[in-house]
Structure formats: structure tokens, C-alpha cells
Symmetry: D2
Subunit: 430 residues, 4 copies
């Protein structure tokens, strides 16, 4: 686990565990690709999606640019143009290939991309193996950031592959579906939290993004949080009640989006002969009522909440409610690649499904915490510059690595984004 | 003054003052139009702008729809299609004419529009004059809301007329320029405010919008606020320092907008022979360095603040700082129609220019206060449904009516909007 | 009549008749505007449409630029910016105001525009009155071109006003409807024309456009032409037969346009309660079956012809068939402003409705005649540069001046244009 | 050769030669792909381009749909969705996958696509081998059309691959460049042709498209045709003379395109350090002055002609001039994949480079010949429905199969198309 590398151990084991973490995370990117054929790697099905091949190369470029180039004087890249092709959005690093054109690049091939990975991995591992204690201390934050970055791209690879396959009328499957565990959906209950000044944000040891800092105080009024996620069955009642036809349920921008995009259900749902089907990573199949609803935008989450006479939680409320809840759940490590139905009631007073399954939209706009300052240098472009027109999501999804998530982790997407594994948990006033 | 009508007085004078307030506000809409020729009323120079004629009719439709129709059984509109033409965005009220097409409607003519106003005014005044005490109590909130609504449109009329005239290569002037008052710009100083739990939001008597409620508590960390607005001269140094060419100063969405729109200065600025000119409501003339910078977007305000190693205030910080500051300033009532330079230092410890001149961008996304619920009915579409992708502005501008503003007043616009009188005040951490 | 001015007469009467022609044509532009209110003059309802005010000024600018400026040394324009505002597309004359923004210009006002006309007319008439015989000979072609140009804009004024009024849900009428003449629609018959080499193009005396020259030979195969125009009633059967739903009837570009624009009838038709209505210059009223179908694109004309197992004529065929047909018809001079039903059979062997009513789409792309060379100078931009992506129409319409049309006259519009008075005459192989 | 199959021979050899022609053409599609890697097959670099994989499948679908399905009762497609995925534009055949989304389909894979080809080839060959004489006579026109169709797609494959590779900043090469043959560019001379009535269109034996019929008479005025194509060197003088900056040289639509697309040279040219380079199928290299200019639009060809005080030929003129010229040239069979410089003067009185190298833009809009009727059924959608907004090109290119071209062959593209191998030959009046 990446977290392990952050514990205080002897230098030797620190080095060993850093190398092990590196290998493990890097390997997982390739493991995700095992079910793919070469053609799948190339496609960019919409501007938000990147080709799998690009993800594999870009995460490699990250180590090349921020780790190898500054620290290994005689390092040379396999191709002088890779820096141009695989920069994502770091304006301070130089020109970059236009994002919506990532799907037009057939070369480097998939094979050459893997060779690029191997080449960079080889140099990184040598560098780490040969690093002095002092050097290692300097390199470790960059390695760790690169691994965190790669884990984020691993989640994007999963969601992007799903989108690419969904565009194909042949409905190809990425993996076989696993039979559902037996059990019964517990009823939705409301858990109460008291008013007060709470500390919000990261202050543990180990890695965190700059946007989780500084830890600061926030006053919360009393509130209630739903004990579990909203399910497909519950969301279907919203659809059947005319939710997508009633402008009074929607934010103004949301209603315009509903009409322009002709939304009438979550992404990947389609009606055939009066029955709702959904595209999953195991192909097209019926909508199962007890699974958490997924692939909804902020607009849909917010409209659903209004329809249900509730609201979404703020991110501070979510963070307060997460305290004491074990960080377990249906993560990508579990290999399901799909949200799972809740089949047992959570412990008394604790919310279920806080981690994994689906990212939970909060009603908090993505903004800087009081006293926030971006990290210096190119890495400072990582988070701060997106603090506008996006909403915070919490808790990770079935495409998130368990080692990547934290209670204070702030994910963010624009309110119309639907291709991530995003779902709904309700809150309300007391 | 509208505020006067909200005081407790005898029924008779309550009625008289409500009628007087009605006449006064309604009259001011027409006074704004005095410098116009008929052709000016018709034009919609961009989708955000409405023709002056439309504003005059729409504010009238508001009284017809929400005041006359429900309360005067035999009332009939002068034209059955006006309800369709002059509804702005009230989905619950029925179909409406497509917003970007408001500039395609030559009829009703300007003269017919004034006749429509007269017709509705006549009926409103009769209704108010004949109302029983009980009836009056029921009507007063609707009248008041209609007047507040009209005051908002008065501000839009001013900004829209400015935009329409600015599209004309002849640079027509709306009013003659008034000679500047003598004085000297005081230096920018920093005022300190202590941490604590503060009450935020409206709780006085009289009118307020639903988005200012409920009054609630918020914890603030200590902060400093600039003693005055940023000036054209200061902003020009940002331009000269390459502010519009440096992506690291901008939010990601902001930088994309700068490039797509080819921004290189505030709206209405243009460079001629190496000299900055600006279009004003008194025509095209040079940029004056001591005037508050105006017609900047949130993106520009935020980038300027980063360049100046500061930030924008939150709306709660602004509200706390506004306490004890007299609600005076360069409002539309003063007739300048342009922000004025500060020429005397403010009283010790008090920020200057908090009211009037320019709306001040805050770093707060426009979101519901804790416990917020929209008002029931069509009037509930007024504020709540816009709580997404916008930022809060505070303090009013040189196009705002003095009677319209409050310390708790929350204006809101998308971060790329520039045609309002919007400017910059800095804040920073302690 | 303009044509009169082209006859050989004594110098004195030549001068007098040129001045008379000038006054007559210039006056008619203003006569067209009599039913308008000021607001109507300002609106540009789509990029193809120009505000009436602009037409009035642009035709005046034409005389100012091509007649007064080069020939009257001390002439000065009333405003230095008019040349920029009222140039349409003459790249050689200098910069010009962006076409789609013509509707954003409230000043000069309508009144100022009329003053501009008066000012230019005053100077033109003085110049003509004082011109020597030799000078007059030099000026006459420019005056004549300017008048022809103005007549074209008069037709555009009529069609543009119709479009502007049609955008208004109030359906305002431009003129009262005139009661229909009694009579009975004669059946459609086929007139036969022999194969041979024909002379095509202009070679008479008097004015013609450069695109009608040079007169040249063309070989035609034998063909048949319909004796009259297609009517609304006939076109309605095409609609009812699913014409707008059957891709096999359409050109590929046409079918895409049908789907993108959601066409299901000619422009200005709308179905209310199962009945077809149409917007006319006399307001909204039912579709009359015997009137020529109007406001159809080339795509629709061509698809209708295919459905009717016929085709459109080539422009050479049309020109051959027009020989010997008197140049009479329902022109704008008649004051109907709408195509009229045919109520008497044409003389044996002659096609009816060849002139006036509606422009007849031909299947000829608008291309240069063999040996064509554009006129030198700015006037050469008049026709030649549009010889691409347009189709030729023949015969004039109910919005064309009788004095403006000729058998060899080539009008041209892109195949998707519908706001002109355009209709259908069929042809077929023998 | 495909043409061989059209000769009168005994049934047996007819059958054998049809099968041989089938195998030869089908094989060539795959030969074109030999230099590609799997990733290259997938990409659609603009809406006009189709992925190579799609071309391979679509040409196969054509045989499946028009040959196998109607004539082999128990034939089943390998996948029920292929008919949907690989229909191009045959509305009469059913729904089809949206053209601009062809690049989103990773499956069927390249391997599966080849299997699909093999499967269909197997069935076609069995069918042809087992066909009776009578059956063969019925099948032959469909087979022939399918092969002609595939040859057209072979040309598109070459041009589309070039476009795909050109989008890659790595500038990958498709084949190695062949050394140029020695020789000297002969001067451009003018060949004269007499006026008269000429027969135009196809009337030989063997295959032709319906748009080449019926053979018909056309009157031509005397004209002159250039003895060879315009070269890069000549075109460069047009560029250096400000050709792309002078609106008076351009058609109106052309000038708008120049400005919107920011054209300043032919497609694939780029200036580096003051030197013109061009992307070729052998990678990026310098522009060679004696090669025929290529990848110009109709707009550019027409503007160049105007600048050179000449014009383009009409398609009838080209056809008349082609008589007696041997149908030899630099076709795709020659393997150069690039236009070649002329190195020897043509025989006296004959134009050189009439076939192969580059398609020659004519000034003829693509329209039906007199008496034209589309072929019945889906195959009738092949040509007729595109007779609008396109211009005719003649003579074939370095990407055309020698067996595919004829003197009467009419190719057509919209006037802004540049990714085909298109060039310029001048004509002029006598």
C-alpha cells in the first residue's frame, strides 16, 4: 500500500518500500489494460476522455519530467516530441498538444508506449536504488506525488474505457459480470449531527493534496445525513414522477442542460421495449433496483434531492460524518468495476457506503480553504487553478484505489459531468 | 424611498406611501430612457442584454401577472400575447419568448410599450387606492417585490444601454460628462478583522430577498481588507506586467476565456495610438488612472488579486467589514453613471467605497445559506435556481438605486460576465 | 421608367429623363417604408436580412461613393464613419462593418438616415443638372447602375421586412390584403421546344449586368416546359405524400438541411389545429390552394420536381421559352406584395406567369458565361465573385420592379435560401 | 485489369476473369494497408476522413448487401450489427452509424475486419464459381460496381491515411521516398481547340457510372488549354505575390474560407525558418518546385487562375482535349503515392499529365447531364444525390487505380476540399 511507504521505518526499508510502492502502482495501470485490444487504446470518445494509450504515456511523462529530468543529468527521453505530446495542462512546462486531438495520434503505438513505460521505470528504479539517504528524502515526495497522480489516472482509465466501449453499438464487455451477493437493502435512515465549530481538512501524516489544507475551523449548524446511498430503484421513481420534465426541480443551468442534451435518465441508461437497460463494464444489461444510482451529474443529484425534499450535504458535513467510519468499501481493488448494492444494515449510528461505490456529490463549490496557497512550481497547477465552476465530491468510487482515498480527499468535477462513477447521498436540516 | 414604505405608520399613510413609492420607482424607469431615441430601445446587442423596450414591458408584465391578474377579477391585458413576450424565465407561469430573440420584436412599439405601462399603472393605483386595510396588507409584499424587481431592471437598463451604444462605431453618448471633483487618491491600506463566529444574513425589518436568509452563524478566520477599490492605474500596471499573457496567474477556465475572447484589458477599453481609451456612457475618452477599475470579470479580478499577492474577500468577510459603514456612495441617484475616483481618505479604520461605484467580486460561489428554502410559487424562481456557476458581488454600483441596496444584498453573475459595473477590492490573510 | 432613360433622345431630354428616373427610383425606396414604424427599421432578424434603415443608407452610400466622391471634388460626407458603416461587400473600397452586426446600430437614426438620403439626392441632382453633355455621358452609366442597385435593394427591403415581421408572435401586417380576383386555375400543360443551337445572354441596348454577357451560343436538346407555376395545392400533395420524410426524393445536402432545420413545409407556413396557415405581408392567414407556392428553397423545388417525375428547367431553356412572351406580370408596382393565382389560361403555346409572382429556380448553377470577364474596379465585385454554390433564378417576383427585369436577367441564391419570393416551374425531357 | 472483364469472351473465361478481377481488386485494398500498424486503422482525423478499418469493412459490406444478401438465400452476416455500422449513406438500406463517429468504434478489431473480408470473399467466390451462365450475367454488373466502388475507397484510403499521419507531430512516413527521375520541366504552352458541337459523355462498352450518361451534344466556343499542370514553383509565386491576402482574386465564399481557416498555402505545407516544407506519405520534407501543385481547393485553383489571367477548363473542354491522349500516367499502380514532376515535353499538340498525378479542378459545377436519370434502387443513391455544391474534377491522381479511370470519368468534391490529390490546369479564351 502506498500509505505504508509513509510510515517511519529504517532507511533501507524506506527505500525498499518506496520501490515496491512504485512497482505496484505502475503495474496496476497495465493490469487495468489487460482486457483491452490494441484498437481500444487509441480512441478519444469525447473531449473529456483521453485514449488509454495517452494515460499510460502521460503518467510516465510525469515521472520523466518531474523526477528524472531534474535529478538525473544524463537522462534523455526516447523521443524529443513526447514532452509535447504527453503534457496535459502544465502551462509552466511548455507547449502541449491540443487536448481534443489526443485521439488523432496513432504513433507512438501501444507497444512503443509500453516500451516508454519500461524505459522510464528502469531509470526510476535505478535512481531510487542508488539514492543516498538524503537524496531519497528529496525524491520521495515527487515519487509519491507521481504515484498519487497515476492512481488518479487509473480511475480515469476505467471511466474512459467505459465511455469508449459504450459508444460502440456492439456493446463490448470489459470484464465478465460477477454474480451478486445475497442480501436485502436496508431502509434509508437519518443520522443526526450536532452544531459546532469543527476542524476541517488534512493534518495527519503521509500524503495529501494541497487543496486539503490548511486544516481550519468551520461552524456547522445541526444536520442529518442519510444512512446510505440513493438506489436505482429510488431514482427510477423520480424519473417516473416526471423529474426530467419538471423545470421547477432544477437549477437553471441544469434545466438548460437537460433540454440541450435531451437527458431523461442517468448516463448509460437506455430504454428498450419499455424496460431500462444500462451499459456497464460487463456490457449492456438490465438496471438493478438496489444498486446505488450512478453516472448522474450534480444537476441530477441536486434535482433529485429537491424532489425528495432534502438536499445534498456540504463537504464539511460529509467530512464530519465520516469520522469514525472505517475506510473500507467497494474500491477498484475489489475488481467489481461497478457499484454494489448494500446488503446489510450499517452499525447503529454510522452511515454505510461512505467509501467506494460512487463519488458523492456535495453541495459545496470547489473553492480554496481559508489560507490556501498552491504548492510552488508546476505541481502548483495541479489543483488550485480549477477552483471555479466545479463541485466537490467525496468518498471515492468502485474505480478508485483504496490506497488513494482519505476522509479529507476532495475530488471535483463540473456540474454536468456524468462519465465518472458519481452518485447521491441526501442530507437535510434538523 | 422604498424603505420608507416599510415603516410602521397609520394605515392611511401606509397606503399613501406605498402608492408614492410605486409612482417614484415606476417613474425612474422612464427617466432613465429620456436620453434615448426610439431606435435605441429596440436593440439586443448580445444574448445577456435585453432591449430597453423589453425591460420597460417586462417590469410592467410583472405587476400585471403577479399583482393585477390574481387580485382584480375583471382585469384584462391590452394584448393576449404580452404574457408570452414579456415573461423572462418563470417556467411555472407558462411558455415564453426565446431570450436571444428579444431584439427581433419591433412591435409593440416604444409608444405602445409606454401605453402598456400607463394602463397597468392606472389599474395598480386604483387597486391600491381602493384596497381595504386587510387587502393592502396582502398586496404590499407583492408591490414591494415588484418595485425591487424593477429597480434591478433599472440597473440592467443602464448597463444594457451602455453595451448597445458601445457596439456603434459612432460612439454615441448617453449623457454629457460631468467635470471631476478635485482631490487626491489616498493610498491603499489594510484594515484588520478578528476571528470569530459571526451572524451573516438579513434579519432587519423591511424587504429582503430570500437568498439573504436565513440569518446564520459562520466562523471566520482573521483577515485584512483593503481600504479602497483597485484603480485603473493600478490595474494598468497588471496589464503592463503581462498579466493577460501569463497563464500561471489565471484560473484554468479564466485562461481559456482570455484566449478565446482575446481579452487584453477590461471591457470597453481600446488602445489607440498606444493610449488606452474607454467607452463610457459619455462616449469614448481616455482612461483615468484614479477611477476604480470597472467592467472586469471574476476571472480578471481573481487574477489581479493573485498578481498583487492578495485575494478577494469572501462574502461573509465583506459583510462583517461593512458593519458600521454608512450606506452612502455613488449610486445611480447621483446621476454620474460612472464610477468616481476616491478623493478623500476614509475615516480611520473604515473601508471607503463599500457602497456604489462598482459591484465588488467576492471569492464566494453563489450558494444557498444553511437552511435556505426558496419562496413558494413563481416568485421562488427568482433566486434559488441560479445557485450554480456564479459568484457573489456586494455593495452596489453607480447604476444601483440607493434605495435598493443593503449590507446583506447578494448580487451574482457568472465569472466571465463583464458588462455590469464590476470591480475589485482586495483581501488577505493576517 | 428606367428603361426610358436608355433610349436615344436629345441631350436635354436625356438629362431630364435621367433626373426623373433618379427621383422616381429613389422615391420608391421611401414609399416602400411608408407602412413602417421607426422600430421596424432597426431589426436584423437573421444574418441574411439587413435592417431597412441600413438598406436606405447603403443605397445612398453607393451614390456617394461611386458617383459623388469621384466626380465632385469638394463633396464631403455628412459623417466620416458612414463609409465604414454602409459598405456592404466591396473589399476594394476599404474596411466595412461586420454584416451580422447591422442590427446593433441604433444611430444614425431613421430620421438621420432620411436626412442623409436627402443630402446625397440634393448633390446628385445638382451635379446632373449642371453636367455638360460630355460629363453626362460619363455619369450616366454610374447613375444607371446605382438605380439598378437600388431596385435590387428595394426587393430585399420587401423580403427582409416580411422576415422581420414574421419573427413577431403578434403577426403584424404590412399592408391590408386585397380581395382576390375571380377566375379559375387552368390545368398545367406541357409546351414543347425544339433542339438546336440558341443564342443566350444579353445583347440589346440599355442596361444589363455583366453576368448576362457575353451573348453566346448554347446547344439545347428538345425539352418541355410547364405552362404555369406549381401551386400551393399541388405542393400540399407533396407534403401529404410524405415528401419531407422521404430521403430518396432529396439531394444529399438538401436532406441534411431538412433534418437540421426541421423543415416540413415552405417558410412562413405553420400548422394550427390541422390547418395550414401562412405569414404574409398582410399577416397570418390560411394557405390558398391556387396561389403559386412560394418561399421554397432550391432543395425543395428540386425534390418536388423529382416527386412529380419532372425536373427544373435550365436557365438557357427558360430563356428560350421566354422569347415572345410579353414582359408583364405581378410585379411590386402592382402593390400586391404576394404571388397571385393564375385565373385565365395563357395564349396557346405560351407559358403563363413567366414574369413576376415568384422567382423560378432553375437547375443551373450560377457560373460565368463563356468569355465572361467582370467589369473593372469595385463594380466588378458586383456579380462575378458570387459564382459558386448558388443557383440561378429567372423571371422576377411580386417584389421586383417591372423596370428592373429582363428576359436575360440572372438572379442567384444559395440552394437553402427561402426568404425570397421563390417558386417552382417544372420542365421535362421530350 | 478490371477492363478485361468487360470484353466479350467465352463464358468460362468470363467467369474466370471476373473472379480474377475480384481477387485482384480486393487484394489491393489490403496491400495498401501493409505499411500500417494496428493503431493507424482506427483513427478518423476529421469528419471527411474514415478510419482505414471502416473502409475495409464498408467495401465488404457493399458486396454482402448488394451481392450476397439478395442472391444467396442462406447467407448470414458474421454480426447482425455490421449492416448498421458499415452503411455509408444509403438511406434506402436502413439506419446507419453517424459518419463523424466512425472513429469511436474500436471493435470489430482490425483482425476481425480482415476475417469479415475473408468470410465475404469466400462466399462471393463460391457464388461466382457456381453461377450458371445466366446467373453470372445477372451478377456481373453488381460485382463490377462493387469493384469500382472499392477502387474509389482505395483512393480514399490513401488520402485518409495521409491526413491521419499528417495530424501526428511525429510526422510518421507511410513509405520511403523514391529518388526523383532526372529531366527538365518543359515550359507551359497553350494548345488550341476549335469551336463546334461535341459529343460528351460515355458511350463505350464496359463499365461507367450513371453520371457519365447520357452521351449528349454540347456546343463549345474555341478555347486554349495549358500543355501541363501548374507546379509548386509557379504556385509559390502566387503566394509570394500576396495571393492569399488579396480578396479581389477570390470568390466570395473562397475568401471567407481563406480567412476562417487561415489558409496561406496548400494543405500540408508548413513554413519552418522561412522555408516551405510539406507533409507527404514519405514524411515531412521540402517543397520541390517542379512537382505539380497539390492539395489545393477549388477556391485556390480558381484564384490562382484569375491571378494568372486565365481560367479553369470546363469539364467538356477537358474531355474534348483528352481525345487521342493515351490514358497513361502516374497512378497508384506506380507506387509513388505522390505527384511527379514532368520531365519531358509532351508530343506536339498534346497536353501532358492529363491522367494521374492530380485530379484537375474544372470550372463546371457537378450537375446532371441532359436526360440524366439515376439508376434505380439503392445504387441510384451513388451519384445523383450529390449534384449540388460540388465541382467536377477530371483525370485521376497518383492515388487512383489505372483500371478505374476513363476520359469521361467525373469526380466531384466541394470547393473547399483539399485532402484529395487535387491540382490545377489552366485554360483561356482564344
Amino acid at each position: 500500500m502506498v500509505k505504508d511507504i509513509q510510515e517511519q521505518v529504517s532507511v533501507q526499508s524506506e527505500q525498499a518500500s518506496l520501490i515496491e510502492a512504485y512497482k505496484k502502482v505502475r503495474h496496476f495501470s497495465e493490469a487495468i489494460c489487460e482486457p483491452l485490444v490494441t484498437e481500444d487504446y487509441v480512441i478519444q470518445s469525447m473531449p473529456d476522455v483521453s485514449p488509454t494509450k495517452w494515460h499510460l504515456a502521460h503518467t510516465t511523462w510525469f515521472f520523466e519530467t518531474f523526477l528524472l529530468a531534474p535529478n538525473m543529468p544524463d537522462y534523455t527521453s526516447p523521443h524529443p516530441q513526447y514532452a509535447y505530446l504527453f503534457n496535459s495542462y502544465y502551462n509552466s512546462i511548455g507547449q502541449r498538444h491540443c487536448r481534443p486531438k489526443r485521439g488523432l495520434i496513432s504513433r507512438p503505438t501501444v507497444e512503443e508506449t509500453y516500451a516508454y513505460r519500461k524505459y522510464v521505470d528502469h531509470h526510476v528504479i535505478i535512481m531510487l536504488e542508488e539514492a543516498s539517504e538524503q537524496k531519497l528524502a528529496a525524491l520521495k515526495p515527487v515519487v509519491t506525488l507521481g504515484l498519487q497522480h497515476e492512481q488518479q489516472h487509473q480511475e480515469l482509465m476505467v471511466t474512459d474505457i467505459k465511455h469508449v466501449l459504450s459508444c460502440n453499438p456492439l456493446h463490448p464487455a470489459y470484464i465478465a459480470e460477477r454474480p451478486a451477493d445475497p442480501g436485502q437493502l436496508p431502509p434509508l435512515e437519518w443520522l443526526r449531527y450536532a452544531e459546532g465549530i469543527y476542524w476541517i481538512g488534512f493534518d495527519g501524516e503521509g500524503f495529501s493534496y494541497d487543496n486539503e489544507s490548511p486544516r481550519h475551523r468551520e461552524f456547522l449548524h445541526p444536520f442529518e445525513l442519510a444512512s446510505r446511498l440513493i438506489t436505482n430503484g429510488e431514482y427510477q421513481r423520480f424519473i417516473e414522477d416526471g423529474g426530467y420534465q419538471n423545470p421547477l426541480l432544477w437549477l437553471s443551468d441544469g434545466w438548460r442542460t437537460v433540454q440541450e442534451q435531451e437527458w431523461e435518465a442517468p448516463l448509460y441508461w437506455e430504454k428498450q421495449d419499455g424496460r431500462w437497460l444500462m451499459m456497464t463494464l460487463s456490457g449492456l444489461r438490465e438496471v438493478k433496483p438496489d444498486e446505488p444510482v450512478c453516472h448522474v451529474s450534480y444537476y441530477e443529484a441536486e434535482a433529485y434531492a429537491r424532489w425528495a425534499q432534502a438536499r445534498l450535504a456540504t463537504e464539511a458535513e460529509w467530512e464530519v460524518a465520516s469520522r469514525g467510519v472505517p475506510m473500507r468499501g467497494n474500491f477498484v481493488d475489489y475488481g467489481l468495476y461497478h457499484p454494489a448494492p448494500l446488503i446489510t444494515a450499517p452499525p447503529q449510528g454510522q452511515p454505510a457506503q461512505m467509501y467506494g461505490d460512487v463519488w458523492e456529490w456535495t453541495q459545496s463549490a470547489y473553492l480554496p480553504y481559508p489560507g490556501y496557497h498552491p504548492a510552488p512550481g508546476a505541481i502548483g497547477e495541479y489543483n488550485g487553478k480549477f477552483m471555479c465552476n466545479q463541485f466537490v465530491l467525496r468518498g471515492g468510487s468502485c474505480a478508485t484505489s483504496e490506497a488513494h482515498i482519505r476522509p479529507t480527499y476532495r475530488n471535483f468535477f463540473p456540474p454536468d459531468a456524468r462519465w465518472q462513477f458519481t452518485g447521491i447521498r441526501l442530507a437535510r436540516e434538523v
